[in-house]
């Protein structure tokens, strides 16, 4: 097992500096980590750095993580200029050091987007996603009112498509990668999931209008089909979901749902 030396260029930013001034007040700081093993994860390398900084009496680098196996969506860094790092289909916590060279310099930044204010160093605030979800990312089904689960058969293909869309982990990489900071892939995934299932049917139009309205209000940009989102998405959420979201939106609008609520006018 060959040990590597890795140079890191990490974005540091104190808490309380506002989102508009991300770049001007934060800065890159250079660090070197020795004895990095190829089988270590990228976050374990940051752990190692933080252990070293702590021992030296310096401030460790703040970053978010929890499950460390690619399912919770907590982690999220821009590594070498790409959200979740250079490997496709992986989250930041799944990135292994064997994908880097001994002596390599790696830049590490937070997910940058207006609606994701930086809280400290590499940690951002993604609660805008929660507020979008609150507008309509659910089926109104009170506990106790459900029919037998096999009462409504659902074709396997539809269930599979719903599941594909439902795999979104809400990490926000799609937003960070989009030149417009659009949240369309994230929102499209939720709208699609529920549109494939009969249970989501009655609220379809309303859901699309309200969620998209909130996305706009949060300051996420429009989608202009760059496709960067799909490329970085760790869960392979397809850009087809955005097309489907648009159809749902028009159907909702044609269905006479409350456009005012949707656009926030």
């Amino acid at each position: 097992m060959s040990e590597m030396t890795i140079h890191l260029k990490i974005w540091r930013q104190a808490r309380g500096e506002t989102k508009d001034s991300q770049k001007s007040q934060g800065r890159f700081v250079d660090y070197t980590v020795e004895k990095v093993l190829p089988e270590m994860s990228f976050l374990e390398t940051l752990d190692l750095l933080n252990e070293k900084l702590t021992r030296q009496g310096q401030q460790p680098v703040e970053f978010d993580s929890d499950c460390r196996e690619g399912i919770c969506g907590t982690c999220g860094l821009v590594i070498k200029g790409t959200a979740h790092g250079p490997n496709p289909k992986t989250t930041t916590c799944e990135v292994r050091m064997r994908h880097f060279r001994d002596g390599e310099t790696i830049t590490v930044e937070p997910f940058r987007a207006g609606p994701f204010p930086i809280l400290k160093d590499l940690v951002v605030d993604r609660t805008a996603f929660d507020r979008i979800q609150q507008q309509g990312g659910f089926v109104t089904a009170n506990v106790g009112s459900a029919p037998d689960s096999n009462a409504v058969p659902i074709p396997k293909l539809d269930a599979d498509k719903a599941m594909d869309a439902a795999s979104c982990i809400g990490c926000g990489a799609c937003v960070a990668a989009c030149p417009n900071a659009s949240a369309s892939l994230f929102v499209g995934a939720k709208i699609s999931q529920l549109s494939y299932l009969p249970q989501g049917g009655p609220e379809r139009g309303r859901r699309a209008l309200l969620m998209i309205g909130q996305m706009d209000r949060e300051g996420f940009g429009d989608c202009s089909n760059h496709g960067e989102c799909e490329a970085v998405c760790p869960k392979e959420i397809s850009i087809e979901n955005i097309a489907r979201m648009r159809r749902e939106f028009f159907k909702g609008a044609l269905g006479g749902h409350d456009r005012k609520a949707a656009t926030g006018d």
Binding site: L37, E44, E51, T54, P60, F138, S149, S167, G170
Partner: protein
Amino acid sequence: MSRILDAKIPSGPLADKWDRHEMECPLVAPANRRKFTVIVVGTGLAGGGAAATLGELGYNVLNFCVQDTPRRAHSVAAQGGINASKNYQNDGDSVERLFYDTVKGGDYRSREANVYRLSQLSMGIIDQCVAMGVPFAREYGGTLANRSFGGVQVSRTFYARGQTGQQLLLGVYSALSRQVAAGTVKMFPRHEMLDLVVVDGRARGIVCRDLVTGEMKRYAADAVVLATGGYSPVFYLSTNAVNCSATSIWRAYKRGALFANPCYTQIHPTAIPQLGDYQSKLTLMSESLRNDGRMWVPKAPGDKRRPADIPEAERDYFLERRYPAFGNLVPRDIAARASKVECDAGKGVGNTGFAVYLDFADAIKRLGRDVVADRYGNLFTMYEEIIADDPYHTPMMIYPAPHYTMGGLWVDYNLESTIPGLFVAGEANFSDHGANRLGASALMQGCADGYFVVPRVVAGYLARGGHGKVTTDHEAFGAVEDEVRRRYDALLAVKGSRTVRDFHWDLGRVMWDKVGMARDRTGLEQAITQIRELREAYWHDVKVPGEAADFNKQLEMAGRVADFLELGELMAMDALAREESCGGHFRAEHHTPEGEARRDDENFMHVAAWEHKGDGQAPVRHVEPLVYENIEVKTRSYK
């Protein structure tokens, strides 16, 4: 003085208990509900389900979690599935059978009435989840699909690829989102509960640290629900997320709630083995893999040939050999211990010798690569990313890892702890799994507690009244907040030489070696001494950087590790006091000639629940006798 605890199990036949109890629980009229505030700590299946449902009913709910959004609670990581006695496969399943399997799986150390209720509620969970848009796997005909899990002979596990927990949790999250929009649930992400506030003997609130600003905050309520998950990271390395902690239930314990069966921990047989000492966690390979994977080791100790070079006749499929009736699908405690036995005998594989093979060659031959990929593709990819080896061609290497904690705060049939008004749900309580949990039953319990039990029993508590309003100005809040503040300031003030992780790692070694898969008197006594020394050293030599009033991950961890350093000792004491082997608790002194766990029903057919008596004082062990009226207590056999 040791007490006998009363679980307040309703009278009457087992099958009618819950229905009758629901009828007898007093209600709160719809218009009055919003006058009651309920604190729910945790947004996993148990906490999130309870918060959303209480909100739906009209209560005023304050819901807390440590993650940046409720959708990331650790339930999200569950892979394999959720049980329900639907009998959709027509293979003879029923409420009775699920009840029987769970009690037997728990090695006759769980409470009959709770398990029966869980089996009954299991069906409604699936109905509810489907209604909320959870995309479970389906057959071509459009009906729901099932798979099998360990310790049972029916197919009753519902699943959503290898992401069942995620999909169930997103269901909970969507219900929560709806209630947040409706104004009934107020969400507090990145808020860590650091203590419980008890006023006049009742749970009346919590003190939290805002994890972004570091500010200490107080919240008051009419009832408090803790659904904060398990404490496996007391072992440092476990399959749990890095932020899982015992802090909320440990603080409640120190305020008077009893802690039941702390030593009952589940070591899962199939995790990716430890690779080095830099590691921050272990990655689970779902139990569902044992549907098609076969576990084996070379017959000869020290055989270092590559697996492909070891001929069939020189392999030992040890589970199939020892347990022909259940084969690779024996319960977890049995599979884990069997792997350990083989490795201890020098037959382990891999660089460290602490691994066994899980082989899919036969399944691929029988079903084809595509079917295997469809069932387990994401797990295979995960494995390959970590180990850099392809399980389609080379057998997986796996080894047991700490995974789940059956122990937790003691609760009665109403999920109420020994502090009135303090309810505990999900993995945080001790109630349903005895000494060993069966696969796919934790999600079931989380959902049952959250959606169905907590809303009913909390309403009953509120309706009975007897507690006036309390605000956060009450002196009890000030006193608790001061204590919390002092504890955190003290951690920062040590300014020693070793990091929080150094201590956590050392604790983990002691726990794994001496309070892990096999325990004995000498080792447990040593563990108690070593943990005390480690704790002492911690408060004199830990180095926590930064400030209290800031985003400070190291300080968060410092608080959690301080609590683990106390809990670890109680686990060892509990393991020492339980002079028998049962389920996941294996005392080397107590086994059958074949090496199986040997229970002592005469002396230990009870729950042990510990009472805190003050720092530096011995806790008191109380018992709740377990009575089996509806099931014949036998020696567990999977042969």
